[in-house]
Amino acid sequence: MSAPASPPRISRRVSLQWVLGATAALATRDRQLHAADPVVTAKGYGPDPSMVKIYQPGDVWPLTLTEPQRRTAHALCDLIIPADDTSPAASAVGVPDFIDEWISSPYPAQAGDRRTILDGLKWIDEESQHRFQKPFADLTSGQQTTICDDIASLKPKSALKKAAAFFKRFRDLTAGGYYTTPEGAKAIGYTGNLPSGTFEGPPVEALKHVGLM
């Protein structure tokens, strides 16, 4: 399926209106697709949690994302960290769940991200609907890339500033969430966390690499 030739200028203008919540019709649909309680009332894990337990997202506080939001987050995570020959995609190691946990956090440091991510997921689905008449998760990767390239600029045009801030933050959370898993750590080149009887120091090839041999 080829991507329809969508005129991005109009799309951006319209999408800006959507971000601003301009139409009642959209707001109604939004409640169905993107229902989310904006206020977190859950408590944190307190000053004395078990440090040895293995936690899953949702264990300590309830998660936020609706099924459509989850699908969108899933697709976006895998566009940001796709699988390759040696390492899995972000969704395969639970990054969408982690992002849900993050934006559902009762702690102040994550409160800003909650708004950014929820608004951004909404924006990207609406942008997808507008350009390709489908939610983001159902687009081809080429179509997804078209949208993301528009908002991946480090110096975005003013109409896209909010969407670009969302994309940067979502990318950072996806990358952080990915590389902090055992599989992601391996993908970035971390080979530690492995008990050993001895510590041998750097191998010859590492010493050569920095000109020490």
């Binding site: 480090l154 590389y179 080979t191 008990p195 750097p202 590492a206 920095v210």
Partner: protein
């Protein structure tokens, strides 16, 4: 005698110790091995390092990937519970609204105190550090010198297990032959700095840290530490044999379930309990040192946090090791007709002369580290190398504008990834957009481990502007009046930080580093008072009763049977981290105390 509840307190102890960290642990160990009956009172709960500390957990095993939260202020897997800069119900205040005049106070309410998450860096103070006034014309000379403490540094290092090398450096003393455990091999980044550092006068040597790089010599060390005391030797040998050497994984800040690194419970309190001479009372928040009509300390009043009830523990001797400022607070809150300004405060010096390490840092991207061939460099869960201060000739001639000096700490390499593992990847790759997809994975991998941060920790001599007093209005959740802090940097600290920033920049650039940003204003570059968690002083030792709170034995001038065993008696902060010196001072004090008890002097 075991871990007890308030109902099981003995009628009287020989010694009541407040605090179970480095100072309280060492004091309890030394005393109980000599048959003294001891109570250790701890404000936090019991904590089992072997079953409760996270060892091989990944960040993804923790909520929020282990990031800091107000509940876990050093991250989820950091070995700290009920701890932090701000603890609900336990406020402290600052007299001034400006950040540069404020002090931040880390409290660690758990058995073993801060030794649980300590970085284990174990550097000795040098001869110059004890005599700042004689050498640099500022501060106060301590009433003891390096030679007084050297035998105790040896003993503590043998007991806790410290790796490192002897380098023959001025003012960064060697240990006696055979004391140190073998230093681990340096990592590639540490070797890289060792090669390039000399271009800018930085000499990289093995650091000293309290981590076992091989099993302790349980056959010979106990006899050296406890000559003529067969029982103590046996108990210590047994304790040493329960400690495994490092398995070269897990950040030491997480604590150590295999007991390879030092914490107070593992090394001090376990063998002390074995002697049968120790009771430990957890969840007991000390409120006041009680005093008899004769002006002698009689014990400690505490709040039992499990019931909210007040209790009292009686002792012939009281030792405060609650952390320097918590001990200050106890002294100031122990007011009576005999001591209207607080206990041991006839000099008015209680709370005065707080110092902290003078720290600033800088980081850079080191292109030489990009695309490093894969290898595991976890090592001993922290740094293997550091840059000691070597410019003594320069500052003897007062060329530098500050007393003392500073050392550099850094952690290079491919550490367990955090949420920031791919941080800065766009700029470093020269990308004008937010990278994603295949390119993100390639660039993250290429740059991983190529960022190098260096922190400097420098000398601080006491000044009149850094002190604590009792806040006239604010009380904690138990109704105990809290501390109010005052803080002031002097030109000396600001000059020191200026020098640090330039030197670190030079060093990073000598390694080909691209320094991201430099803070030229030292008042902004300097880490806020207290935030290095090296705060000491507040009840300094001295040669004269009018100018200090304790004598050279950390015994208060005013109350003969009251001693301090934490950082409070430090008359200044060296460029070395304080914990090893706290333990050496505590052992020396406890030896003296045993002698005084035997002589019926207390």
């Amino acid at each position: 005698m075991p871990v007890i509840t308030a109902e099981k307190l003995q009628k009287q102890y020989d010694v009541v110790i407040v605090g179970s960290g480095a100072g309280g642990g060492q004091t309890a160990y030394t005393l109980t091995m000599e048959g003294v009956k001891v109570l250790v009172m701890e404000a936090g709960r019991s904590f089992d390092v072997a079953t409760e500390s996270a060892m091989l957990q990944w960040p993804s095993h923790a909520p929020l990937r282990g990031e800091k939260t107000p509940d876990k202020q050093y991250g989820f897997h950091d070995c700290s519970i009920h701890s932090g800069w701000e603890i609900p119900g336990e406020p402290y205040t600052n007299a001034h609204p400006e950040t540069q005049h404020q002090f931040r106070w880390w409290r660690q309410r758990m058995m073993g105190g801060r030794t649980n998450h300590w970085g284990r860096i174990s550097l000795r103070n040098g001869p110059l550090d004890f005599k700042p006034r004689s050498h640099w014309g500022m501060g106060f000379d301590w009433p003891i010198g390096y030679d007084d403490l050297a035998p105790y540094y040896d003993k503590v290092e043998m007991l806790i297990g410290v790796f490192g090398t002897n380098e023959g450096l001025e003012n960064s003393p060697d240990s006696s032959p055979g004391v140190l455990l073998p230093a681990p091999k340096l990592r590639v980044g540490e070797l890289f700095m060792q090669k390039h550092g000399p271009k800018v006068g930085a000499r990289v040597v093995s650091i000293h840290r309290a981590v076992l790089t091989k099993p302790q010599d349980a056959d010979t060390i106990p006899a050296k530490l406890h000559p003529g005391n067969a029982r103590a030797q046996r108990i210590l040998a047994d304790s040493m044999r329960t400690r495994a050497p490092c398995f070269w994984a897990t950040d030491c800040h997480r604590g150590c379930a295999i007991r390879a690194n030092y914490d107070s419970q593992t090394v001090h309190l376990r063998p002390a309990l074995e002697t049968g001479n120790l009771d430990i009372l957890p969840d007991a928040m000390a409120r006041e040192v009680t005093v008899g009509k004769d002006g002698r300390a009689t014990g400690v009043t505490f709040i039992d946090k499990t019931t909210g009830r007040e209790g009292h523990a009686r002792g012939r001797v009281v030792v405060l090791a609650a952390s320097s400022q918590e001990s200050v607070r106890l002294l100031l809150n122990s007011k009576s007709n005999l001591f209207p300004n607080g206990l041991a405060n006839s000099s008015g010096k209680v709370g005065r002369y707080i110092t902290d390490s003078v720290q600033s840092s800088l980081s850079a991207h080191i292109p030489a580290f990009e695309n490093m061939p894969l290898h595991n460099e976890d090592g001993a869960g922290g740094p293997h190398a550091y840059v000691p201060w070597t410019r003594h000739a320069q500052n003897r001639q007062a060329e530098l504008g500050f007393p003392g000096g500073y050392h550099l700490e850094f952690t290079t390499g491919r550490q367990m990834p955090t949420m920031n593992a791919a941080g800065g990847v766009d700029a470093r790759s020269g990308s004008t957009s937010v990278l994603y997809g295949k390119r993100l994975k390639e660039e993250a991998r290429r740059h991983y481990g190529s960022q190098l941060g260096i922190g400097a920790q420098g000398t601080m001599l006491p000044n009149d502007g850094c002190f604590a007093e009792i806040d006239p209005e604010v009380k904690d959740q138990w109704g105990i009046p809290v501390l109010r802090f005052h803080w002031k940097w002097t030109e000396a600290e600001l000059n020191l930080v200026k020098h640090q920033q330039q030197h670190i920049r030079d060093l990073l650039e000598a390694m080909g580093g691209k320094v991201s940003k430099t803070e030229t204003d030292p008042a902004r570059a300097i880490r806020q008072g207290g935030t290095v968690i090296h705060e000491v002083g507040g009840a300094i030792m001295g040669a004269e009763a009018a100018m200090s709170v304790t004598n050279s034995w950390s015994q208060t001038w005013d109350v003969k049977n009251l001693f301090l065993a934490d950082g409070a008696p430090f008359a200044s902060t060296a460029d070395k981290n304080p914990t090893l010196t706290i333990m050496a001072l505590a052992w020396r004090m406890a030896d003296h105390l045993v002698g005084e008890l035997k002589k019926q002097n207390l």
